[in-house]
């Protein structure tokens, strides 16, 4: 052993022992029982209805980008829920444990969580919300929408896509299992040196943290590579860069950030692991280590990461506003340039997370100015959205409400960000709940954009709309919750309340905390409204079926194919004439054309390798966390061997014949004809209508 391990270690089980299962914990033990019972019920239902083959064939082994995207979104929503429960616990502890006379239960002096447990809850909350809720939700949407918007049949690397999903799932599983086996990190979601060193955090919490993050980073990088390659190489004929839908541009800029910044995180984590596993001294105090170097490395990734999550959200807003304003997006080119500028500047500002390190006036000023520069392209975007709505024919449906809400939150978050970017102010409020309120405003922009997108794109993916009434109810409850929680939080920040308090010493803050607790109750109601929304919508789905263009005012290419999108996306690849192709076709009266002739197409096969590799990475992460060396070696070897086998075997894909396609397409058209408000389509010969080209020329011998 290179490092001293407090507690036992055995060759067979590593640090794992029965005592690591918190069966005496009054909160975790009942939860564990509930989870086990829930799992048994779900598995039992699947078996009872004989759905295992369906599940395996249609979902677990799929390489279809839409299904993978849906699974990303499901993981994201589940983790969002878990993160929300953490948030609820944090708020409840803080409203309870105020002042020396506050009561305490469950072994806690004040409130119901011991400091150690409270630390785990907020650390898990932060990590989960940013990396296992927001990130998978956004990656899921990019996965589903980008290929359809550029007129491709799948991602550039369908198998890699599945691999990225299952590695992300492994990360989610790893952080979930830390609830019941051992404990999680308790030093904040981004950790600090040297408290994460072995001497100060001897448990497995930090190790869980390392390997969870490492897996998410890996999965997201793979996904990023895939989206970049897809956008660059797989665009439909005629789709030049100037005609790319704006969400695709947003995804492109975001994934450039992902590809370039995630490696910095992986290096930082690798060095932390070297300290904890090999007894190195990268971030120790003394022995040549440097504490602040960790913070520096982390934020070199951390700040670009926050733009990685906000840029796709901006892209979503840029799709929703024009559709429900019945106008093209104002300032397309400036929008693209702004995304790229944000991506570029995001690399130059990371020190604003540690102005208080004390690098002095020159360094702080330079980074302060660089940070404020971000405000320029962001401002451009805000004005573009405002001008898109200006004199538009606005429809205030639920999707639009979420997008408008996102706009307001962006203003609040951006303004407070600007304040934080001024070192003189930052020295006052750094590490106060003011910062917490700032980044929650920002991350809520993302959450709002995501719920807007769920409503906006749901009919495309599933073929029916979600219920407007419950969607709006959820929106208003959620927004009320946001105001009730975060307005008092900004105020407390100004009063000097520091972040992450498990005991609030100042009884004068009680009333603010009460309001926030009430806010989180309202949030809980909105979560309830979301479940009702799903239930009601699925119950009434037959009534809410939609045709290809679900909103009637859509603009970009994804609205040209059927809803739900068939597995091949487009039977014949469309030819792109204009930037907002669907709007253009509608204007020119060629929105109802359909191809006259179908060619054979080539599609990728399903594979079970991806999910097995995902399972193995989970085992590897678990074994590394508990230092079960033999299991590490076995799972790592299995991963390598499996990858080599798969690489040599490759995937020849399979052919869907033209006749089969024709049959499926005709069925889809028949289904669409039954929906009241959709019009009939008629075939065009040679893919040409008038003097416009509707489809890729199918007279050429070139096959795809």
């Amino acid at each position: 052993m290179l490092v001293d391990l407090p507690g036992g270690w055995s060759p067979l089980l590593g640090r794992l022992a029965w005592s690591q299962i918190p069966y005496a914990n009054p909160i975790l033990a009942p939860l564990f029982v509930a989870v086990v019972i829930g799992a048994i019920i779900v598995l039992g239902l699947i078996t009872y209805y004989g759905k295992w083959t369906y599940l395996w064939k249609e979902w677990l082994t799929t390489v279809d980008h839409k299904k993978l995207g849906v699974m990303y979104i499901i993981i994201g929503l589940v983790m969002l829920f878990r993160g929300f429960i953490d948030g609820l616990m944090i708020r409840t502890q803080q409203v309870w444990a105020v002042g020396p006379h506050s009561s305490g239960v469950f072994g806690s002096l004040h409130g119901y969580l011991t400091p150690f447990h409270f630390g785990q809850v907020y650390s898990a909350h932060g990590l989960i919300m940013i990396l296992l809720a927001a990130t998978p939700l956004l990656v899921g949407f990019m996965n589903i929408i980008v290929p359809i918007q550029i007129g491709a049949r799948d991602m550039a690397y369908p198998y890699l896509n599945a691999l990225g999903l299952w590695i992300t799932a492994a990360a989610a599983a790893l952080i979930m299992i830390s609830l019941f086996v051992g404990d999680f990190a308790h030093n904040g979601w981004f950790e600090y040196a040297p408290i994460f060193e072995m001497q100060y955090s001897p448990g497995v919490g930090v190790d869980y943290w390392i390997w969870t993050l490492q897996l998410v980073a890996l999965g997201t990088t793979l996904g990023g590579i895939n989206i970049l390659a897809t956008v660059i190489k797989m665009r439909a004929p005629g789709m030049t860069w100037g005609k790319l839908p704006i969400f695709v541009w947003a995804s492109l800029s975001a994934n450039v950030i992902a590809l370039t910044s995630f490696p910095a995180l992986q290096v930082a984590l690798g060095l932390v692991a070297a300290d904890r596993y090999l007894g190195a001294h990268f971030f120790t105090a003394g022995m040549g280590g440097n504490l602040m170097l960790y913070t520096n490395l982390f934020w070199i990734w951390g700040h670009p990461e926050v733009y990685f999550v906000i840029l796709p959200a901006f892209g979503m807003m840029s799709e929703i506003f024009p559709t429900f304003s019945e106008k093209p997006l104002f300032g397309y080119i400036t929008m693209v340039l702004a995304s790229m500028a944000i991506a570029g500047v995001s690399w130059l500002v990371w020190l604003h997370h540690f102005f208080t390190m004390g690098a002095g006036p020159y360094v702080n000023t330079a980074f302060s100015v660089a940070t404020m520069l971000v405000g320029i392209p962001t401002g451009v975007k805000v004005f573009n959205w405002a001008f898109t709505m200006y004199r538009g024919r606005l429809t205030f449906n639920a999707a639009m409400l979420w997008a408008i809400g996102a706009l307001f939150l962006l203003l609040i978050g951006g303004m407070t960000g600007m304040m934080l970017a001024i070192p003189a102010i930052n020295y006052m409020v750094h590490n106060s709940v003011f910062v917490v309120a700032h980044f929650h405003s920002m991350l809520l922009v993302i959450v709002y954009a995501i719920f807007g997108s769920v409503l906006y794109w749901f009919p495309k993916v599933f073929g029916f709309k979600l219920d407007e009434f419950w969607a709006k109810t959820m929106f208003w409850l959620f927004s009320a919750g946001t105001a009730l929680v975060f307005v008092p939080m900004y105020m407390l920040g100004f009063m000097g309340m520091t972040r992450r308090l498990e005991y609030v010493f100042n009884t004068g803050w009680q009333s603010y905390l009460d309001v926030m607790e009430f806010g989180i109750v309202v949030y809980t109601l909105s979560v309830l409204a979301f479940f009702i929304l799903l239930y009601v919508s699925v119950r009434d789905h037959a009534k809410n079926r939609v045709g290809a263009d679900a909103w009637g005012t859509s603009r970009s290419l994804e609205w040209m194919t059927h809803s739900p999108v068939p597995f091949y996306n487009f039977a014949v690849l469309p030819h792109i004439n204009e930037r907002d192709e669907v709007a253009w076709r509608r204007q020119h009266g060629i929105d109802n054309v359909r191809p006259e002739h179908y060619d054979d197409i080539h599609m990728p096969n399903n594979t079970g390798v991806a999910i097995i590799l995902g399972g193995l990475t989970f085992v590897l992460g678990f074994a590394l966390t508990w230092r079960i060396w033999w299991l590490c070696i076995v799972s790592l070897l299995a991963i390598i061997v499996l990858m080599i086998i798969r690489s040599f075997r490759g995937d020849p894909g399979y052919i869907v014949t033209g006749a089969e396609l024709q049959r499926m397409e005709e069925e889809a058209y028949r289904r669409e004809a039954q929906i009241a408000d959709s019009h009939h389509s008629h075939p065009v010969s040679g893919g040409v209508v008038g003097n416009a080209m509707a489809y890729q020329r199918n007279d050429s011998s070139k096959r795809l």
Binding site: M292, W347, L348, G358, G360, G650
Partner: protein, 146 residues
């Protein structure tokens, strides 16, 4: 999904690679690593010189790996490698350059300069310096004893 892409061995990156290239890349990096390890463990060069020598070794190793293992060159059919390189170089300069700048400014303000210089010249005794010997980044002989 074009046909040639189905056979990975036909990709230009794979076509470019040879076992000789891989072994050479591996051997060069391994050799440089050994040299660096030897220099560090033997303390045969003064600290500042050590820093320089190791940096040079690392630089050569990076170039050898980029060339022999990753086959990144600036030829026409590897155009995307060039794009990646063009993206990488400014980012490299930004991260390393700005980090160097912020930390040199930080040390100016937080480090006892007599300790700093003693770290560079082992001849001066650390005990001659007041207080701050345990600051991050400070090390050398004060800690190396234990």
């Amino acid at each position: 999904m074009s046909h040639g892409a189905a056979d990975p061995t036909m990709h230009p990156e794979v076509q470019l690679s040879t076992s000789k290239g891989y072994f050479l890349g591996f051997a060069i990096s391994a050799f440089l690593m050994l040299v660096a390890t030897f220099l560090v463990t033997s303390h045969s060069v003064p600290p500042f010189g050590l820093l320089m020598v190791i940096s040079v070794c690392a630089g050569i190793a990076v170039i050898a790996q980029i060339y022999f293992l990753l086959h990144i060159d600036i030829s026409e059919h590897n155009i995307w490698n060039t794009v990646a390189l063009v993206l990488f170089i400014p980012l490299f300069l930004i991260t390393i350059g700005l980090t160097w700048w912020m930390f040199s400014q930080l040390y100016l303000r937080t480090m006892d300069m007599s300790v700093m210089s003693s770290a560079m010249q082992p001849a001066v005794h650390a005990s001659a310096t007041p207080g701050m010997a345990a600051m991050p980044g400070m090390n050398a002989h004060t800690d190396s004893g234990n």
